[in-house]
Symmetry: D2
Subunit: 257 residues, 4 copies
């Protein structure tokens, strides 16, 4: 039946305007992503899939993106499997280039620093790839704690501190583990944060963070230094935002490699 329905998208377009990206955005899907410790982990993602559209076509066939997503979401997603999906998208959409963006929470088991009590911490990740490039972009959001060096220095006791978020984008061709990026960031603030802390852990985190005051500027610089030691990383951007505990706005630092 569908064969006899007219294909409006394939009609000729006379505006002479190619479109760099056209597709579907923010479709939620269960995903299976590669996990260094456990092989893979199940999570839930938001998926964007695009192709380019040559100037002479009126539109693209959006349902095909969902077909491909449905066929592939139970396979493990990694930098080994993404090129296959991108090729599939490119071919079935009859395009010259295809793009995919996956946003998902990734869980890592954290051990409390003294008691060793275990719990899971979520890190929002974004993985971006396109068919005509061997580079991948990985964006990892890592929460951490910052103790203000100025506040600590000028005050007789105490120091204001707060939760901060580092948003790190790394570009690579050869595999960079999410865990390695997180590792660099968690060593770059005043302290790492944990879902579960017993009293002796809370004492440890309080004292350790007080001994390591860091502005958002410091955190960004420390991360830059750490990322430079990972050879596979070809370029990076770093954003650090802190929900200042003494203000109603954020402090912000940005470094581009």
């Amino acid at each position: 039946m569908s064969d006899r329905l007219p294909d409006v998208q394939k009609q000729n377009d006379g505006r002479n305007q190619p479109i760099q990206k056209v597709g579907i955005k923010e479709i939620k899907y269960p995903l299976l992503v590669k996990d260094r410790r456990k092989g893979h982990q199940k999570t839930v993602g938001s998926v964007n899939m695009y192709v380019n559209l040559p100037h002479h076509f009126k539109g693209t066939h959006m349902s095909r993106f969902v077909e491909i997503l449905n066929e592939t979401h139970t396979e493990e997603i990694s930098i080994e499997t993404l090129p296959h999906i991108l090729r599939e998208v490119k071919e079935r959409l009859e395009a010259e280039e295809s793009f995919i963006e996956l946003v998902f929470p990734y869980f890592i088991e954290k051990k409390a620093p003294v008691s060793g009590a275990q719990s899971l911490l979520d890190y929002e990740c974004r993985l971006i790839a396109q068919s005509n490039s061997r580079q991948f972009q990985l964006v990892v959001q890592v929460p951490l704690m910052t103790v203000c060096p100025c506040s600590k220095t000028i005050s007789r006791y105490g120091a204001h501190n707060q939760r901060a978020l580092a948003i790190v984008k790394v570009v690579f061709e050869k595999m960079v583990w999410i865990e390695d990026v997180i590792d660099v960031v968690e060593k770059s603030g005043s302290s790492s944060i944990y879902p579960l802390l017993k009293r002796q852990d809370e004492k440890y985190v309080t004292e350790t963070s007080h001994n390591n005051p860091a502005f958002v500027e410091d955190v960004a610089r420390n991360i830059a230094g750490g990322l430079r030691l990972i050879q596979e990383i070809q370029s990076f951007t770093i954003e650090v935002e802190s929900w200042e505990s003494i203000h109603n706005h954020m402090a912000y630092a940005f470094i581009e490699s």
Copy 2:
């Protein structure tokens, strides 16, 4: 070591003010939820856990919530298992009442109406329970399509239509399936929506929805009628919001049983 650290939370409080709920909010965790077709499904949730706090205690021990969550998140969550978790929370937090709220996307396989093409649709769900009640609250958000009856009647052709969202809360003691609530809602609008529609499906959905125009008022009333036929539902509220395609605001209807 923690034994020797003072327990500040257990200190006496003299303000004579009990606290109805105290706990942790918006902790992300992987969840295993009961699924009618497949037994269970893995998803990712946001969890709130609270207890009441008698007036004579200064604070509660928040880390225990995370301990319990960590111990139980790999067990299937359902109305059979929630009472155990609530009892555990109540006992380990030494409280008189405990509360839990779980928010998670729940995926159901949808078949396109003509081609039968399959894909997964996400429905945001919220499950709420407390230790001193045998009632559960289930909130399901169901997207659907509304074609405006006024626009259809007054226009020579066409009719404005849009995506709408029904937010349905049902209260019950005996199991009500998420799938049954969704079923009622998806029959109450102009048409159900689907992640994947081939051309013949799109024709079907367009024509069917045009034949079933419905205001948000109609959708809310239709849902109310459908929910009344599910005996296990003891009470409900219905909210229907539509992203009006001709406006920049929403149309809204609310019914309370």
Copy 3:
């Protein structure tokens, strides 16, 4: 011309289901709200307006809400003027009851505690009223700072602290000033927060907050005590959420009067 177009909304409805609220939601509009210090202030709000719908009508006439909003948004909004708007809505929508909800940022000039440096702090407010009641609901969100009493007690130095948010709903018939609710909350945490702090102010806030450690439980109880001293307040609810600097989740306390 519109006279000759059929009025679909006025058609009879046979489902015997009244609708408690039907209307428009989240329409953005500039608003003029009453301000204790300056008489009034201009802000931008999100407006919800509803009426009830008797069981025998199919729908309501949503455009009339926008007409009324457009006529009245340049008048100062206060508890003196809202009853007029509600009556207008009720009459022009031919309803038995009408409802209005206004959400808007409200700005107050804050003076830094030592330097006296001035800046504006925004507080999100929600004002709710309905035609058949003389009671108003005012919800004010007040950011503040909490220093953890447990962390302070068990650690040799420092104490984790963070930004917290108190969400206070007060119900009244006789005018309660937004400023008075904010005042109560800002005295209930470890410290008030400020957009602008010079170095000597930062020292003051750090030390003061360190001297006033408070759990979310303490903040909620302190607010409850303060609200009880405002005679015009007939009832209240208090929620306090803190973005724990050592965790990726929130601590939460809830009191209902």
Copy 4:
């Protein structure tokens, strides 16, 4: 007093890492912006202000951003006044480059197409400038309506349609009016949208939009064509997202000039 407190930010930093942007983010402030029809309009914005930080300084003095914001927010913000603010920021923060981003709703009076009934429509705008460039970036978000050409062609009657959002960024040195960008976009979809439509207007919008079906691809191309006619625009990007009424995800198109 502050003179005697140590200036931690001015300390030397040995990591040899300059920071491209450091400052404050998401501070809410009332703003006065230039308005073509009325001279200026009061609105409420979210403000980001940054400077670069040379590698040898440890940190920047964030409070000075707020001081400057407080001094200038009652002046009309336009491309004439922004360079003054940027120079002020650069000098008082002792930086080589300064940046500002303002996000605010901008209201325009819309007339319904047949009745002429008036109401205000909000458009989210973002204005970006930096001291070392004479170029400004203006991002305008314009809601509009799209009727699916495929659905219209293959169906015997009706066509699915929905609200869409065009996010247009234009780069210019000489003034481009927000109103002119909006004008281009509102002519590029199936129909403009309106806060207030009487019955005869709704008939008009329904029929007109049905006569002008447009994919997101078409809307993006039409906008590109329109922007090319505005000489002051040096470059642009166009994103069009539509909340597909038959799906739970968005259709998306992106064009870069």
